[in-house]
Assembly symmetry: C2
Homo-oligomer: 225 residues x 2
DNA sequence: AGCATGATACTTGTATACAAGTTATTGCCT
DNA sequence: AGGCAATAACTTGTATACAAGTATCATGCT
């Protein structure tokens, strides 16, 4: 399990959440493995209270399973949950891009284009670490442009499940394709071409689809059933 | 603030959540009012720990706002949040009813029809208290029928905000209309009439829309801004 | 009077002690 | 050896003590 320093001003609970989330997503904490409040609190140099509160929060996102008086475990990967998260995202992103086509504001379009420029810059520098947050920001900007920022937060809270199999899947889709998708979507919005925008968005979201069978075959213990 | 007995087997945290949720939704705890962990723990006859954990959970649903070292407050009603919740629900329910039209299973249709029968029975008995859970169950069954139960859970977690203004608004839509809607939706699904199903669902979801200006005028302190 | 200042009484955040339940182990009995 | 029972070593749940920050109010100074 990898450890970080506590950021200044960060309270113990959020620190615990940050460290645990990182280690769960990057599979440093294996799906199915046991974690205990005592063990974690000594590892993180905290008392049980903030660690416990962190575990409770992660259990609400179904990343941790707490069995009362028995133990806590890193949840195994639930493929159905991931597919459902993708369904939710697909449906909501399409609804949002449709709204965006109805009344595209120049201010919002500028922000989106600026973001794409940054994405391209990262591509040239091959700075993939900086690329992912920008990808995320692009979609956030899209939701913000139609006043649906909170909806995006809901989606994002579901995306953690997706992050875990992205870690597992070595060959994730090329950032080049992703940036192209983004550019085309903005193009469609500017033209107010709802139909095209939805087709492009659907293809974009479905790009992330991973091959279940391969992953389950390679890491059977990480998955439910 | 109304109090209940602790159910057998219910732990202190869930009990605190249940009582607080009830009192927030029914406006026994006024939006904007201060609540403190100490005060609540003595009211509920619990220690601070489970009460604190309950407040943290409610703060995740934006029903409570925790200001570190300053105090905790019942969140004021955010109309934009409610509208956005309705947007999410509208979009997802339509997507689900569309899926249901593609391959309506007899088993699922039977469950839905049985549910409607129960709704009608409640209507005859004028048992509104039993009606609301059935309304909820109807939509849950619909989501389950297309394997999207978790999506429904996400929607439902957003619905608490809606419940609060339903309490405020004395004249909520007549159950009679709601049952009619449900019947018509099932009819459309059986006929695999996607277009009709979506129209009916849209009207059904939008029925709950409340008049913002009236409510804000009557209870200005309960709302943000 | 008005303002600064310090004590006090709050608040939530964190640490720790104890309670209650589960699991594994150990040792005895058959 | 096998099985059963007591026990010890865990687990999370809850209660409480202490830490640290904030707001209020009183007091004294200008």
């Amino acid at each position: 399990m990898k450890l970080f320093d506590r950021s200044p001003g960060e309270n113990a609970r959020n620190y615990a959440i940050r460290v645990l989330l990182y280690n769960i997503i990057n599979l440093e904490l294996a799906p199915g493995s046991a974690v205990s409040e005592n063990e974690l609190s000594s590892t993180l140099n905290l008392s049980r209270t903030p660690v416990r509160e962190a575990l409770i929060e992660l259990s609400k996102s179904s990343l941790v399973e707490i069995l009362p008086q028995r133990g806590s475990y890193i949840s195994k990967i639930d493929y159905e949950r991931i597919e459902e998260a993708r369904f939710m995202r697909l449906v909501l992103e399409n609804a949002v891009v449709k709204l965006a086509c109805e009344s595209p504001e120049p201010v919002d379009l500028k922000k989106l284009k600026d973001n794409i420029s940054e994405q391209k810059f990262c591509l040239e520098q091959e700075d993939t670490a900086r690329f992912f947050p920008l990808d995320n920001e692009f979609h956030m900007l899209l939701f913000q442009s139609v006043n649906k920022a909170r909806t995006f937060e809901v989606i994002q809270s579901q995306m953690v499940h997706f992050d875990r199999i992205r870690t597992l899947s070595l060959k994730s889709s090329k950032p080049t394709k992703i940036v192209e998708d983004h550019e085309n979507i903005i193009y469609a919005i500017e033209r107010r071409d709802t139909e095209l925008a939805e087709i492009l968005m659907t293809r974009h979201i479905n790009r992330h689809q991973m091959e279940k069978s391969e992953l389950v075959a390679a890491f059977p213990d990480y998955f439910i059933q």
